[in-house]
């Protein structure tokens, strides 16, 4: 089975802190994604990556950055956390381009910024 693991289920950080959310997948997938989930808004794409060191902005990249130094690991970085970044963050992975398959998700990190 594909496994996507997020480093924390719950996280509380202070405003202005630099926050790292880590995600690891074990199926040699090319693609990795970071989504943000908010009530009434569904899941919105923050950033994605289709190869090591490659990244592209999603629909809501402001205030976030990402890092993919190794194929299996995709990190989401909040440079200076703000209260409006309090949310559920979901990492996902999928096989390479043209594979036409669904994405596999981690269990989510609920981040609270105080």
């Amino acid at each position: 089975d594909v496994k996507v693991t997020q480093s924390s289920r719950y996280l509380v950080k202070r405003t202005g802190e630099k926050v790292f959310l880590e995600c690891v997948q074990d199926m040699d997938h090319e693609n990795m994604f970071w989504y943000r989930q908010d009530p009434g808004l569904g899941l919105r794409l923050i950033y994605f990556s289709y190869d090591v060191k490659m990244k592209e902005k999603g629909d809501i990249p402001e205030g976030y950055s990402v890092s993919r130094e190794k194929k299996e690991r995709f990190s989401l970085i909040l440079e200076s956390a703000s209260t409006n970044q309090t949310s559920m963050y979901l990492c996902a992975s999928s096989p390479g381009q043209y594979m036409n398959t669904e994405a596999f998700f981690g269990q989510g990190t609920r981040l609270t910024v105080v």
Partner: protein, 117 residues
């Protein structure tokens, strides 16, 4: 850009009843895929069912089936003989086919489904 709309924020039915969740989408693409994901209280997103747009036959997976109306851009999920374990958030999602780079999922707002005993 593609958009996905789920117009039912919440639904509630009795155990063993049949329930239908609605989803509409907007796209100019001809090659695409549609999905229903389930997110139970554990928060783990689980794929329920997928539909390829080029297939006319509606997908089915045990008690789960879809009504795919391509011309109307509608993709509803029917759950038959509902069970308590079906209680979850359900998300409809769209994905373009055969794109260079990563194939991204575009999600609807979600429908919170509660199955009552």
């Amino acid at each position: 850009a593609q958009t996905v709309t789920q117009s039912q924020p919440e639904m509630s039915v009795q155990e063993a009843e049949t329930v239908t969740l609605s989803c509409t989408y907007d796209t100019s693409e001809s090659n695409y895929y549609l999905f229903w994901y389930k997110q139970p209280p554990s928060r783990q997103m689980i794929l329920v069912i997928r539909q390829e747009a080029y297939k006319q036959q509606n997908a089915t997976e045990n008690r789960f089936s879809v009504n795919f109306q391509k011309a109307a851009k509608s993709f509803s999920l029917k759950i038959s003989d509902s069970q308590l374990g079906d209680t979850a958030m359900y998300f409809c999602a769209f994905m373009k086919g055969r794109v260079q780079g990563a194939q991204k999922l575009v999600f609807g707002q979600g429908t919170r489904l509660t199955i009552n005993p």
